[in-house]
Amino acid sequence: MKRWGMVIDLARCVGCYACTVACKEENGTAAGVWWAPVYEKEVGTYPTVKRMFLPTLCCHCKDAPCLKACPTGAITKREDGIVLIDEDTCCGTRACVAACPYGAITFVERAQGEFGKELTPHEKATMKMKSGVAQKCTFNVHRIDEANYEPACVQTCPTKCRIFGDLNDPESEVSTLIRNRNGQQPRAELGTDPSVWYLR
């Protein structure tokens, strides 16, 4: 059985936010909602300074704390490892947000468009988010299922710093990179076993 995962090479990321916007466009998230933000971290003191760019998304953890915390069982995990929130079952406790170490989940109290009440044609076509529920990255499961097509964030990255593939296949690009470049899981000590690995 496949286990979908992603490797993010921090040595290649240049902080351009292409992934952040591609995600928004693909998923039609409401105004203020970002499933694939890129954080910055400044390290060092002048003049030996480095600004790190840290692309993030839902880690689709094997032992997902959000799934465990959710009281209504709205969060489930597929056999291929993708963790999904069912908005119709969600009642909006935000227990998942409290549980997630990766800032992956957003609670949308009131979904709105970028220009206020009037939605643009794109928003009307893509924005399916209901209000009062939690939502997060889905690894673009619809692209995977419909066309075996990688997530939008991976497809758009200009420096190819995001690689998507099967973590259960030792010869896949993701597995090879993790092995050869000493990939690390974020906050590995928490035991969530994230499916997103970082290379430094």
Binding site: V33, L67, C70, A98, P101, F107
Partner: protein, 316 residues
Amino acid sequence: MHHEAFAGSVRNPFTSGRWIMEPKPQNIWGKSHATWFTCMGVGAALFLNRVLFDLELGKVLGITVAEWLSLVVIGVGGLILIADLGKPLHFWKAYRNPLTSWISVGFIADIVFCVLAGLWAIPSLELGGVNALGWLPWAGNKPLGLLFQFLAGTACLIIIMYPGLVLASSGSIPLWNSALVPLQYLAFGFNSALGLAYLSARVGVGPIPSPVWLPVLVFLYGIGLLFLLLHLLESWYRHETGRFSVLRLIHGDVRNQFVFGALGLGVIVPLALIIASAFNSSSSLTLLAITGLVGVAGNWFSKLAIIRAGTYAPFL
């Protein structure tokens, strides 16, 4: 500075502010949760004190004030929580994940308590001095009644602690991720409930609690303080973000709620009032009644402060 347009309509502790990898204060739970947690704790402790120690706090219409209060307070707390949900009308689904979700466990316990404690109280009802339903098979200490008390009481124990366990189960927030959180909930639940017995006595509803309870009250406030201080120490030394949270509590944006509210109203003032009452026998009941009131307020602040000061650790 930014993001005012979406503040309140979209909540994510990391993306709501500056996109910098740094400790991020949680922004999903606040006063509603502090109120819910406090109500749960106080209500449940009142019921336990009633069934275990006969602390009835008086009677109204045949039913003890302790039972009235516990049902009302837990009910109100529940309603406040439901109103806070993103989709309040879907609250009833919250029972579905008891194997891993403390909220589910608590929800089930809440239902069990409300049903069983409510049922158990009904036979005691006296209308116009007449006890019409005392024949019900679970009334008072009949075997079924004892079973109801046992189950409702167990539910209460869960109810006092589960909110703390909800917080403690979050590995992402070092301040919350501690056994000392549910322990504080236990201590403050009971010291609030016991304090209310003196308030009830002072307003002439209930009897003055036996002198044996005063040292217990002191103990309960003392242990609340101890758990609180241990919690600060543990957070400080265990994780950098824990330290960040502690600084927020004693020095930063949560200072007033923590220092004056939780520490002050929650333990210092009550203890001071109790000591004062020992030297002032004429006003001692008044002072102890005020202790009860202030203690509940402090309990609320202690929960609010910890909830607010909860900060996510940077994850990269």
